[in-house]
């Protein structure tokens, strides 16, 4: 397959190629493609304009796009073979879904500040604080259920507002501000709980997250509803675009007339509020609250959001996060079923997922960001490769003469290529032979 339709006209003096860019709309994929056609404009072919897709035709099915689904399939195959008795039961997957509901809630809250370009490390501490507040009010203060929940949610809003104030007004780096805030919140939670488990919450509170159908808990519904709302806001409303614009370049977004400070404020408040919801679900689902009960959710939430950001959109998105949580939890669950070291496997899993996903996305950007993949580069095109093999064709008569071809010029340079290298060079760049009989 060549870049050009028909023969290319090559100007022998300059090496320029006469070509014209023609746009065609591909009816099937509705993607704009470029083809070189007919002679109109003299232009060097810019390989960046070559938008041939990778050999993998269905780009949507590419592992880079939906790798998490392949991972999920792999876990199914592995565990079906390994522990078929326990893996192939509804009970297993039910418990995975029930366990991940709270993680999904927290992760979805986290997507928004990350999209806006600020970190919120205080989500776990906010969860603990909200859980402690709601259970303390219910148990020690004998509050009714809904006022207690309302108080915990208000606490979430207040935490978000303080975080946002520190970041936007005082201009502390979000990482530091929320790290400090999380320590302060942990202190609050320890103080309020007296560093003991708070037990004995009323049934009306515990029944908020009872099973409703197929053994699924109500928290699953809440997680799904929140996910749908977040997905709609992020993908389909102007607000979502403003979040991403702020995250992409704060100054550029400000100059485009966006109140970036307000969106950062909103993002922090939303994430703290959603974390508070997570904390309440946590208290209700487990029936006992400690000062540190939210802490184990911090790293998995980050791992899920970053792994999700490598899926579908190449930026933070809700479906990717949702699936990542499912896959990571299934992997952990399967290992637990197989009886592999129960205690540390979860930490290992989520830590690796975070490192690999972030590493993958930066690696892709670094290595392939500015360049073409090798199969899309011009010098890897069949005509070039064939020309090299046959020493005939496009590449065999180079117009560029390197400095080492001119002995007078070589003195200005420090070194000459080695013998082997010179041989190799002269194979691809042969010295011009003198014309015979003329």
């Amino acid at each position: 397959m060549s870049n050009a339709e028909g023969p290319l006209k090559v100007d022998p003096s300059t090496g320029e190629v006469e070509a014209r860019l023609v746009l065609k709309q591909n009816k099937i994929t509705r993607r704009w493609r470029l083809k070189y056609d007919r002679v109109e404009r003299r232009d060097k072919i810019d390989s960046r304009f070559d938008t041939r897709r990778s050999p993998f035709k269905w780009r949507k099915l590419h592992p880079r796009n939906i790798g998490v689904l392949y991972l999920y399939a792999a876990t199914w195959i592995i565990y079906t073979a390994w522990v078929p008795d326990t893996w192939l039961t509804w009970l297993t997957h039910r418990s995975v879904i029930n366990q991940q509901a709270i993680l999904i809630v927290v992760a979805i809250g986290l997507i928004i500040p990350l999209a806006t370009g600020v970190f919120d490390l205080s989500i776990a501490a906010t969860m603990s604080a909200a859980a402690v507040v709601v259970s303390w009010l219910l148990v020690d203060r004998d509050w009714a259920v809904w006022p207690a929940i309302g108080a915990a949610l208000l606490l979430g809003l207040a935490i978000g507002a303080i975080n946002a104030f520190l970041i936007v007004k005082i201009r502390i780096d979000s990482f530091i501000a929320t790290l400090g805030m999380s320590s302060v919140l942990t202190a609050f939670a320890v103080w309020r709980s007296g560093n003991r488990s708070i037990l004995g919450m009323p049934d009306s509170f515990l029944s908020l997250t009872t099973e409703f159908a197929f053994g699924l808990r109500t928290s699953v519904i809440i997680a799904v509803v929140l996910a749908v709302i977040a997905w709609f806001v992020i993908e389909h409303t102007p607000v979502g675009r403003y979040f991403f614009a702020t995250g992409g370049g704060r100054d550029a977004a400000r100059l485009a007339g966006i109140h970036t400070d307000r969106y950062i404020f909103a993002a922090m408040v939303v994430s703290a509020f959603v974390s508070a919801i997570g904390g309440i679900l946590l208290a209700s689902q487990y029936g006992s609250t400690q000062a540190q009960s939210g802490a184990p959710y911090l790293l998995p939430a980050f791992a899920a959001v970053f792994l999700g950001s490598t899926q579908f959109k190449r930026r933070f998105n809700v479906p990717g996060t949702f699936l990542s949580v499912l896959v990571l939890q299934s992997g952990v669950k399967g290992l637990q079923l197989a009886g592999v070291a129960v205690l540390w496997v979860e930490n290992l899993f989520f830590g690796l997922a975070l490192i690999i996903s972030v590493g993958l996305s930066t690696y892709q950007r670094r290595v392939h960001g500015g360049q073409r993949r090798w199969w899309r580069r011009e010098e890897s095109g069949p005509e070039y490769l064939l020309g090299r093999l046959l020493r005939w064709g496009t590449n065999s008569t180079p117009e560029t003469r390197e400095w080492w071809h001119d002995p007078a010029d070589a003195q200005a340079h420090h070194h000459r290529p080695s013998r082997q290298r010179r041989k190799k060079i002269s194979r691809y760049f042969p010295r011009r032979r003198k014309k015979e009989n003329s």
Binding site: R31, W32, H236, A253, L255, A256, G257, I258, H259
Partner: protein, 541 residues
């Protein structure tokens, strides 16, 4: 061992070219610096001065074919193991100091500290050495405090001292001074000149780059003038020249105003800027009428690079008012956008666009309200709308899903223009609209601006390139030292006038504040016979 004494130049550069993608910054430049001479290098912005200096300093690799000799020996300036590197010292325009480190630490950066028996730094001895070095400039700053806390003059002195320390006299060396006098007052300039003279007595060659022509004439022995990447005067003795002849060499052909500028009938005042103060801006008052293109010229630091963002509210505005159609606009980009203003910033990569955005997200960002379905963005009609704008401005290739970082500079700029024209503004502010843009895209951008003005929009253009201003503008205000120095229009609007006025070559020295300043009062000088700009402004209102 010949009897005849031949002077070998310290630096002998021949047939030096540098090609950047899309443009040739230097074409066959040559430069000879003799030992013991001050060689001035002058030229307009974009003439290739800084490229030449960067090439000599080894930061930029020249095109193949350049011949460089240092003290008679051919060297490869760009080879990492270049043993002559220490013989070429450079003081950058931005000085290249680390602002958080102290003077002592900055001076020790390249050379290392003086240490005692336990490899401990001998701070007292170091401090004494630094103070002695700086006293040569008649300055006694606190050498232990961070460089950021020093005054501009002191910082310059530190940078020069750093370049001169441990100067080895055995072989002639080369010192490059890139606009060192920009923030110095007269006494400090004289101290600098003294130091430079002392250095040339030790047979060093000095390349002196400056925009201030009187200084060039006072200090330099020979002058090389660059224009459009070519050397137009190679090493001519300074005694043969005066400011007027140098300006003529720098500008070359004198481009005058287009005929179309004269018979234009402008509408009412659209934008009124009253006495705006910014970081470098010290009271700017001007008006732009509908259909008019107003240009701003000036050197770096004259307020030219700030005026667009200050009017738009992107950089802080410490005083003054901006009125659009007689309505006051609060200093925030959001308010400016609401008041139908648009800003195409100079720093396109950082401020103009979000590099990872797709074209279809970038273009509609400032105004998403046009295509709404309830709370939802109505994606399909929006995409069609964007496609229309992309096609109108000929962004190539018009692939809406392509990320902006993959477009060329010209197409990025066109997409930024498309984004703002889509908001249907009445005032368009363009900061250096063709910076980093290839020739074809440049013409397209000029046409777009002309078209916008013809339809009754008011345009502000700032540019370091006088030709661009003459091509685009109906009127040009020249900024100097943060203030509007003069207004050029009609027959006065020529490239040489713009250059002369920006340099202040007639009377003012950039950097020295000769003109009295008071809050709410800015000096406007106009040599045009038909009255001052203030009276003209009154006529129009």
């Amino acid at each position: 061992m010949s009897e005849q004494r031949v002077i070998t130049p310290v630096l002998d550069v021949e047939s030096l070219s540098k090609t950047y993608p899309g443009q040739r910054a230097l074409i066959d430049a040559s430069l000879q610096v003799l030992p013991g001479e001050v060689h001035a290098l002058i030229g307009q912005n974009g003439s290739g001065k800084s490229t030449l200096i960067k090439t000599i300093a080894g930061y930029v690799k020249a095109d193949h074919g350049a011949r460089v000799r240092f003290n008679g020996e051919p060297i490869d300036l760009w080879h990492p193991r270049n043993d002559q590197r220490d013989r070429i010292r450079i003081v950058h325009q931005d000085l290249g100091l680390v602002p958080t480190l102290s003077t002592i630490e900055n001076l020790a950066l390249g050379r290392g500290f003086d240490t005692g028996a336990l490899k401990n730094i001998r701070w007292r001895r170091e401090a004494k050495r630094c103070q002695e070095l700086l006293l040569g400039f008649g300055l006694a700053p606190d050498v232990r405090s961070p460089v950021a806390t020093l005054t501009a003059a002191e910082r310059t002195a530190v940078a020069i001292v750093r370049a001169l320390q441990d100067w080895d006299d055995s072989v002639p060396g080369l010192l490059i001074l890139d606009e060192p006098t920009a923030s110095l007052n007269r006494g400090e300039v004289e101290a600098l000149f003294r130091e430079v003279r002392r250095l040339t007595e030790r047979r060093a060659g000095v390349i002196f780059v400056s925009h201030v022509l009187p200084e060039v004439l006072a200090l330099a022995d020979r002058i090389t003038v660059l224009r459009d990447g070519k050397v137009v005067a190679a090493g001519e003795p300074a005694a043969q020249h005066d400011t007027a002849s140098l300006v003529r060499l720098m500008v070359g052909r004198d481009i005058g105003a287009h005929v179309q500028h004269d018979d234009k009938d402008f509408g009412l005042n659209t934008l009124e800027v009253e006495n705006v103060f910014g970081i470098t801006l010290k009271g700017a008052t001007f008006k732009v009428r509908a259909g008019e293109v107003l240009g701003f010229a000036g050197l770096v630091g004259s307020g030219r690079d700030e005026i667009g963002t200050a009017v738009f509210g992107a950089t802080p505005r410490f005083a003054g008012k901006v009125l659009v159609n007689k309505k006051k606009v609060f200093a925030h980009p959001h308010e400016s956008v609401k008041a139908e203003m648009a800003l195409v910033p100079a720093d396109r990569k950082r401020l103009g666009l979000i590099a990872t955005d797709r074209l279809e997200e970038h273009v509609p960002l400032p105004r998403l309200s046009t295509h709404r379905k309830g709370p939802k963005i109505d994606t399909k009609p929006l995409r069609e709308d964007v496609r229309g704008w992309v096609e109108q401005l000929q962004v190539e290739p018009p692939i809406l899903r392509r990320r902006l970082e993959k477009f060329s500079g010209g197409n990025q700029q066109k997409s930024v223009l498309a984004r703002w024209l889509r908001t249907n503004p009445t005032i368009l502010i363009l900061d250096e609209p063709t910076q980093g843009v290839d020739v074809g895209a440049k013409a397209a951008i000029y046409d777009t601006i002309d078209e916008f003005a013809r339809k009754g929009g008011a345009v502000i253009v700032t540019s370091p390139d006088p030709e661009e201003l003459v091509r685009l503008c109906d009127r040009v205000l020249v900024l100097r030292g943060g203030m509007i120095a003069c207004e050029l229009s009609g027959a006065n609007l020529t490239t040489s006038r713009i250059v002369t006025e920006t340099l202040g070559a007639t009377s003012l020295r950039a950097g020295t504040r000769v003109v009295e300043r008071k809050l709410g009062f800015s000096v406007i000088r106009d040599d045009a016979p038909n009255g001052s700009p203030t009276t003209r402004a009154k006529e129009t209102t």
